[in-house]
């Protein structure tokens, strides 16, 4: 078990290194290949009054002329030891973890992310609870009542659910429930949980439901499939042959096995969401990680884009790590390999 954990940890770290390299090369190497110049990068960080010489200076100052490995190294070292940026009058500290420094907004990226994480976290976790409960419950029931009206209805709704783009359902619900009926909070509202839990829930209700609907739908389908699969297993028959009550068979023997793979998927989904529920956030104009990413891209603020990509990747890698470990706990067979 221990060796297993260690192996996975090393794997996760390696993964992050590679992700960082790829990210870096996509935003710095690819444009170079496509024909961008150091000045091109630099002029992005200059006011409209910048002249060629000033741009050149900045390009030098920001080290866009250095060889790419050097630039990569600088970027990475910033994450661990932090880095400094010349803001004119003073030298701007970007303490570790320095996931880059936006020269457009003149702010380190990390603090921005830190104060956006609560939003995304609230959105994702809330939705997760809803979809996990609804989705799995529906899935199990459909599986057990396979072929009944309930099953068919539930599965039809689920299929519809996975076929609706979240930004569409989001806007429609916003227009109907917020702008129309005025019973839910308008787009863009968010109250920190600690400030006022009730407000918090109220402001996020609509995004939660919208997001959860999509996932619940797909989880219902997954759970149902998994459940049917499991309930046809030999060990279920064995359990019945022991004279076990059916309810117990389903819960203790069926569910446990059926839900294990769901756990994996859930972990990864959550990881990805924490990296930014891009569509939901931009639909409900919630100032979360995803929205931050979009803003960064629109304003073409490379340090932001890279920072947010890395953080998002970090979430995914962590999630999959945790999932793997959990899996090892749930399924004894994994522990060996």
């Amino acid at each position: 078990m221990v060796t297993y954990i260690i192996r996975r940890l090393i794997g996760a770290v390696l993964m992050l290194v590679i992700v960082s390299m790829v990210t870096f090369s996509i935003f710095f190497v690819v444009p170079r290949i496509a024909g961008a110049t150091a000045e091109g990068f630099a002029s992005r960080y200059m006011g409209r009054s910048a002249n060629a010489e000033m741009i050149a200076v900045t390009a030098e100052k920001l080290g866009f002329n250095d060889p790419l490995p050097v630039q990569y190294g600088r970027w990475i070292s910033g994450v661990f030891v932090g880095s400094e940026y010349d803001t004119g009058a003073t030298i701007e500290e970007c303490p570790a973890p320095c996931f880059g420094y936006s020269f457009i907004r003149r702010q380190p990226v990390w603090p921005d992310l830190v104060d956006r994480i609560p939003v995304t976290l609230s959105l994702a976790s809330g939705a997760a609870v809803i979809w996990l409960l609804c989705g799995v419950a529906t899935g199990v029931l459909s599986a057990l009542r396979k072929g009944t009206v309930f099953d068919r209805a539930a599965m039809s709704i689920a299929l519809a659910g996975v076929s609706l783009p979240v930004f569409f359902t989001g806007i429609v619900s916003l227009v109907i429930f917020s702008y129309g009926l005025g019973i839910t909070a308008p787009g863009g509202s968010f109250t920190p949980f600690l400030e006022n839990p009730v407000e918090w829930a109220y402001s996020l209700l609509l995004p939660w439901i919208t997001l959860a609907f999509l996932y619940a739908a797909s989880y219902a389908r997954l759970t149902r499939a998994g459940m049917l699969e499991t309930m046809s297993e030999d060990y279920i028959r064995t359990a019945r042959a022991k004279g076990m009550k059916e309810s117990r068979v389903v819960v203790r023997h069926g569910l446990r096995a059926a839900l294990t793979p769901i756990l994996t998927i859930f972990g990864l989904d959550l990881g990805l969401l924490l990296g930014g529920a891009v569509l939901t956030e931009s639909t409900f104009s919630l100032k979360g990680i995803g929205d931050y990413a979009v803003q960064a891209i629109v304003t073409n603020d490379l340090p932001k884009i890279m920072g947010v990509t890395m953080v998002a990747a970090l979430f995914v890698v962590l999630a999959s790590l945790i999932v793997d470990l959990l899996y090892a706990v749930v399924d004894p067979r994994v522990r060996l390999g």
Partner: protein, 345 residues
């Protein structure tokens, strides 16, 4: 319907499954008796309905899509009409089952011990401790070394043989009076097979349970059985004592099975009298005798084979055969055509 004297009796049991493609008659009019301490071997190719029968006896088809008719009498109780819940209480306690391929038949997430404990506590309101204790000596009894350690291992940590022993331990944990073993040895290699068979023989003696061994391998039943039922296409086609079946088999299909029976002095794959063709589809059985398309001697029945379904008739002393060939003819073919071949090799 009157309660029979025998411990287990099936009367004209029919288990049919309606499917999109039509009615699957997995078991179609099966009858037999079995006494305590006796062993019945049910033999047949896959799809002959033998496994369905065993699950049917355990009542595992109840509440499913299956259409069940006929009677199953267990120790004076009729199970087909009995409530599902009542049958459940009998399951595991009065009648238990040993499945083939214990790896998939045991839950991968729970320790072997836990699964035995579970089986025990369903029917005995005892503490986990007591149950665990019981589980350990059950494991001991089925010959698992250091049971107190192995009790906490997971199925995948056991060898195939060990696993099957554990499986048996689980089945016997509530000392059932009827034990059904479905292909108990097919998943195992030859030497282990032997051990397991011995084990089962011994255990049956100790427990004095009625044992049904289901297999496609006559070798296995040869080892264990007092009586043997040969099934084909959901019907019993020959029934008799082990001696009847091995010394005086009368059904061409049985001959085929004997012919394909592995012997120490023969290559496993080598077949003397291969049964040509594949098992019939249970949806639309061949007209008349279900076996006739594969039967070498069908032509000797004057077309009866394909015309009408043969009855299961007594040929001599409790030896029943379902075949259109006249008794003498069958005798004759066995003595002069088959037997000689079997021995000559």
């Amino acid at each position: 319907m009157s309660a029979p004297s025998s411990f287990l009796e099936l009367r004209d049991l029919r288990i049919h499954f309606p499917t999109d493609d039509g009615l699957v008659k997995s078991v179609d009019g099966l009858s037999f008796q079995l006494e305590r301490g006796k062993t019945l071997g049910i033999v047949g190719e896959s799809g002959s309905g033998k496994s369905v029968t065993s699950l049917g006896i355990l009542g595992l088809h109840k509440g499913g899509r299956a259409k069940i008719s006929g009677e199953i009498w267990l120790d004076g109780e009729e199970l087909v009409t009995a409530s599902a819940d009542h049958v459940r209480t009998l399951r595991g306690k009065k009648m238990a089952m040993i499945f083939q391929d214990p790896l998939s038949a045991m839950h991968p997430f729970y320790t072997v011990g836990a699964q035995i404990v579970e089986a025990y506590r369903i029917h005995h309101p005892v503490s986990k401790k007591v149950a665990r204790k019981h589980a350990i000596d059950m494991l001991g009894r089925v010959g698992i070394p250091q049971p107190e350690k192995r009790v906490d291992s997971y199925p995948h940590e056991f060898s195939g043989g060990m696993r099957q022993r554990a499986m048996i331990a689980m089945a016997l944990s509530c000392d059932p009076e009827l034990l059904i073993a479905d292909e108990p040895t097919t998943a195992l290699d030859v030497t282990v097979q032997a051990q397991i068979l011995d084990l089962m023989r011994d255990l049956q003696r100790d427990f004095n349970a009625a044992l049904i061994v289901i297999t496609h391998d006559l070798g296995v039943v040869a080892e264990l059985s007092d009586d043997i039922l040969v099934m084909y296409g959901g019907k019993g086609i020959e029934y008799g004592t082990a001696e009847d079946i091995f010394e005086r088999p009368e059904h061409p299909y049985t001959w085929g099975l004997l012919g394909s029976m592995p012997r120490l002095d023969r290559e496993r794959s080598e077949r003397l009298l291969p049964i040509k063709g594949a098992p019939p589809s249970l949806i639309n059985l061949p007209s008349g005798c279900a076996f006739h398309p594969r039967c070498v001697y069908a032509d000797r029945t004057g077309g009866k084979s394909s015309a009408e379904v043969p009855e299961l008739l007594e040929s001599d002393g409790g030896h029943l055969v379902r075949c259109h060939l006249p008794h003498e003819v069958r005798r004759d073919i066995w003595e002069n055509e088959i037997k000689v071949n079997l021995e000559s090799s």
